[in-house]
Structure formats: C-alpha cells, structure tokens
Amino acid sequence: MPAAEDTVKSSWADEVEEVEGGNLPPPVEKNDGTSKTITEYSMNDEGKKVKIISYYRIEKHRVARTIAERKTWRKYGLSKNDKPGPNPATTITAEDVFMHFLSNKDEEQNEQEEIKKKLLDQQKGQVKCRLCKEDHWTKQCPYKDKLEPLRSSLLGEEAAEEETPAQATPAEKPKIGGVTQGKYIPPSMRDGGSKKGESMMSSRGRDETATVRVTNLSENTREQDLQDLFRPFGDISRIFLAKDKNTGQSKGFAFINFKRREDAAKAIQVLNGYGYDHLILSVEWAKPSGTQ
C-alpha cells in the first residue's frame, strides 16, 4: 500500500551530475522488511528529470489458502498490463474521514424546530380569519359555528356601508396589482414598491448572532489553524477566512460562526488579546452584514 508518494524536482546539483552522467540513474529499491522505498527517475513532459520516491508499508496477513491463491491470479481486462500492487490510476488513498457520532441529537432537533418556527412566523400576518381576525384561515376558525351566522346577519348592513366610502374616494391608493381597476400600475407604485428588497444574505437565513470577527491574523494563517484555535470553545458551523485572490494568503481577518452564542462569547473572552503567531489577536462580535 503506498503510504505516501511525492515528486521531488531534482536540485541543480543533481542536474549537473546527471548531465555529466548522461542517462537517468537506475531505480533504487530499499527494503527493510517492514517498509519499502523505491526511488525512480523519469523525464516529464517538459523534458525535465523527475525523481519519484514511493513509500510502501509492508503488511503480512495470514489468510486462508484459497485467498492466498486468489492473490496470485494474473490480472485481466483493463488491468492486464498493470504491475503488481495497486495502480495509482485506479486506486487512490483518499483523505482521512472521521465517523461523525451523533451525540448531540437534541441540538439538531432544536435547530429544525427553530427553522419551523421561523417559517411559521413568516406566515403570520399573511392569513387572517374573516370572522375572528386571528392567524388562520376562515375555514379553520374555531368560532366558525358561532360567528358565521352572526356575521352573515350583519353582512347586509355592512355591505351597504362599505359601498359609500369606496365611491367617495376613488383616487385612493390602488391595491396590489390594481386588478380591480384594470389599470397598469408600475411596480414602483405598487404596494410594497417603496420597500427595500430583501438581501440575498438574510434570505439565506444564516444566523449571524453567534459570529465572531477575528482580526490581526498573520498572513500564513489557514482555515485549519482557525479550526484548531476555535474548536475547543464549541461547535463551529462555518469559518470564513478572507484570502487574497491571487496569492491565496490570508488578508488578516476571518469570521467564525459558532452554533451557540455562549460559545462565541467564551471564545471572545479568552482569545481577545491572545498572542498568536507573533501577533496579538483581536476577537469581537461581528457586525451583521449589511449594516456596515
């Protein structure tokens, strides 16, 4: 199994040697029983010499005879010409993954409930019962049986009353869409036209109350470092590290979204003024985006 594989460009000193030597040096194989190192040299597409060092860990397994036999089979199909051992073109050692244990189940449920609550809040005000003026459809009104007959008996008088003001003020601001009038109304004049559009950020629903801003970071900071630094305070939902587009180096500030506000507060308390990478960190609450 290849434990690691890396390509090292030959240094200028090697090159001189090789120019004198002419051909590529032969591959060197070191085998000490538990590990194997193969050093190969080859020419790449640009005509440069490339040194490839492959590290293998040798494992011994005792298996049933049939399994051992199967291991000696010749390869076939598309793998017919593969050398013994895994072919890097088809077999890749993937990045480390961790089993994520769900111990904080309640938390997750809370989160979902919160989302539900938010949705419900949004719906409030949209629906209004004609009978009791509460937040539900008229059809579902609990007082339907009592109020409905009462209302219809009153309706005759009300309808008569309603007609007079409508005629008296025909120039009143038209309702949404102006359908009743059948006249075109530009969007800007419509109901809510003067309201500012909701920004993309808020509609995405990111909770920014538990976000801290870290400034005075060194250029070499990476997301992983921040993860290491802030993880002890609590669960982090997102880390944003401002980076230079071209160089990929940190711009010196970052935002950390915690899952809980208490964790964020703790992080601020501990890390504000903390010396990190020869600089003094400044950690504070992030201002909600859009209000800067």
Binding site: P86, T93, A94, M99, L102
Partner: protein
C-alpha cells in the same frame, strides 16, 4: 479512517458486492465493464469486458469461481473470476434487473424488466455447468401485470424460495417449485432499491425510495424494524457482527436528478449507521459527492464499502472509535 478510493468506472455505480471471504470486491456501474478488486489494498484484479449496456446487478458464487452480471443490453453473462472470461452469454428479451446465486451456487434467479410488450418475469436457471447453460428457465413466473415490476431478487434459506422487491414497494416470497406467491410484505410506499440478507440469512433489509429502510424476518416476511431518514435510501446492509455491534448502515441521498432543483442544504450523501434494535441513528461518514447507490459490509464486519452516483467506490476500515462507541440506553 483512510478510505481507499477505487476509480474504475466511467459512470455511476449500480451495485457492489464482496465475495464470501471478503478478499474480493466486485463493482458494477452504468458503464458496461464490471470490475473486480482486492479489498485489502484496492488493487484491481481486472475488468469483465463484453456487455454493451449498463450493468444493473451482480452476484458472486460462494466459492468465488463464478460471477454473474445482469445488464440493460438484454443479456446475462456468467464469468470466470480467475481469468475474467465470459463463460456463457444468455440473451433475453428485455433487460435484466436483479440476479442472485442460490446458496449452493447451482441456480441463478433473475428478474427482467417490463419493456416493449414483454412482462416483467422472475426466472430461475440451472448453472451447474457454467460453460453450457440451458437458457430455458427451470422455473418461470410472470410478475406483471398482477404485480409491479420486480427489481431485486434474493434466495431464501435452503434455496426453498425466492424473494423479490418491487417497484411499488412490496416484497413477495415465491415458492420456486409452483411459481406461486407465498407471502407479500407490503410496508414500503415507494420502490425497493436494494435488498440484502443478514449474514445468517434469517433477516433481510430493504432500502426504499420512501426514505426508510426496513428489517424483515425472512421466514414470515414480518417487518421487524424501520430505519427512518429524510432522503431516499438506495442501499442498506446488516453487519455480520450482530452480537457485538448490532448495526445497520444505510446509503442514499437526494436523487441525482433533484439535486439542482431543490433548495435544501447540500450534502446528506453520508453513509448513516443505525442501531439495529433501537432504530436510532448514531453515526455518519461523509465522502461521496453524490448519492450512495450501493453499500456493503465487509464479511468480517470490520469495514464497509460504498459505491456512489459519483462513480467511485470507497472502501473503509473502521477505526477504534467505531468499536469504542457505546450506545446511550
């Protein structure tokens, strides 16, 4: 854990399967070449070249000599695992959906698609001589129009009956001698995507598009447990270590065609581990960047492999955290 990523397919994986000892791992995809891998280091033993369409289903004989593939090119092939050569090619009228070797390896049960005026069928053929297989089934049942299309198929204990999973979510137990239905399990509301037996063959787990997986008693076809998720489940497997680590693993995720049209949070392509008895999810493993289409425990229970819509197979070996995890009672 550091998974091994097997990159041998050009299209999404349809099914993966370990052989009985677990040293070989077979994978099939919507491209026409199933692969065989050494599970220990991810080395590819070879590919089986011959089909001209997607390979829907695969199975391995118990002694790891024969390998059967059912394909959308309306054929079923039997292969020699050692050399990768096709021993026989059985032409069908429609594409083959599910294939399964009987326990003894002398028979193969397969289901065909309902297509071009042909009904979905459940057939069983004799494969005692893999080089000269008689293509006329020794048992034959029409599944449609009385029932919905059959997708996957499994043999019951002692090869006495076969169980099929259907497009409308029911599972049916058939008496192979008479071709009659013995029992029907109607619990799922949407199509069965995958069925797998437990190691001892007494339980069966079904994965369905209705976002649940269910555990069944093979003998009575009684639904024992249900594992609930919020996405379609494409595959589910039961651990061989039932006594010490009674877990099941579910793979699935949003359907590929819906990924761009729904506005929910990304991801959810994790493998989900549930406690077999408590029906409670306790762990997840990320990795695939598309839904998992097929998942299988290593026969020694110390790892699992998953194949996804992204075309990769990932072979995992559990690390200590898995064994140390204690369930909160």
């Amino acid at each position: 854990m550091k998974p091994i990523m097997l990159q041998g397919h050009e299209r999404s994986i349809t099914q993966i399967k370990f052989n009985r000892e677990g040293d070989l791992l077979f994978s099939a995809s919507k491209d026409p070449k199933p692969n065989c891998w050494y599970s220990i280091n991810g080395e590819r033993l070879g590919t089986y070249d011959g089909h001209s369409g997607a390979v829907w289903s695969i199975d391995v004989k118990w002694d790891s000599t024969l390998f059967v593939t059912g394909s959308a090119d309306q054929s079923m092939r039997i292969w020699d695992i050692e050399t990768g050569t096709s021993l026989s090619n059985l032409e069908m009228k429609t594409s083959v959906r599910g294939v399964n070797f009987s326990y003894s390896g002398t028979m193969i049960a397969y289901t065909t698609d309902k297509m071009m005026g042909h009904n979905s069928e459940l057939n069983i053929i004799d494969v005692r001589d893999p080089k000269d297989v008689d293509p006329t089934p020794i048992m034959k049942t029409q599944v449609t129009p009385n029932n919905a299309k059959a997708l996957s198929v499994l043999w019951g204990p002692l090869d006495e009956y076969v169980i099929t999973g259907h497009e409308d979510g029911c599972i049916i137990k058939w008496d192979m001698r008479t071709g009659k239905k013995i029992e029907i399990g109607q619990e799922h509301t949407k199509q069965i995507k995958d069925m797998q037996l437990s190691h001892d063959g007494l339980m069966l787990i079904t994965a369905s598009k209705d976002t649940t997986a269910r555990l069944w008693d093979v003998g009575t076809l009684e639904c024992l447990k249900m594992y609930k998720t919020d996405r379609p489940v494409n595959s589910a497997a039961i651990t061989p270590l039932l006594d010490t680590y009674p877990h099941v693993v579910l793979g699935g995720g949003q359907e590929a065609m819906d990924v761009t049209t729904t506005s929910s949070r990304i991801g959810k392509f994790d493998a989900r581990f549930f406690h077999l008895v408590f029906e409670e999810e306790f762990a997840r493993v990320k990795g695939h960047f598309g839904p998992i289409n097929s998942i299988a425990f290593h026969p020694n229970g110390k790892g699992y492999a998953s194949g996804g819509e992204d075309g990769y197979v990932r072979v995992h070996v559990f690390d200590d955290a898995y064994y140390q995890f204690k369930f909160d009672f």
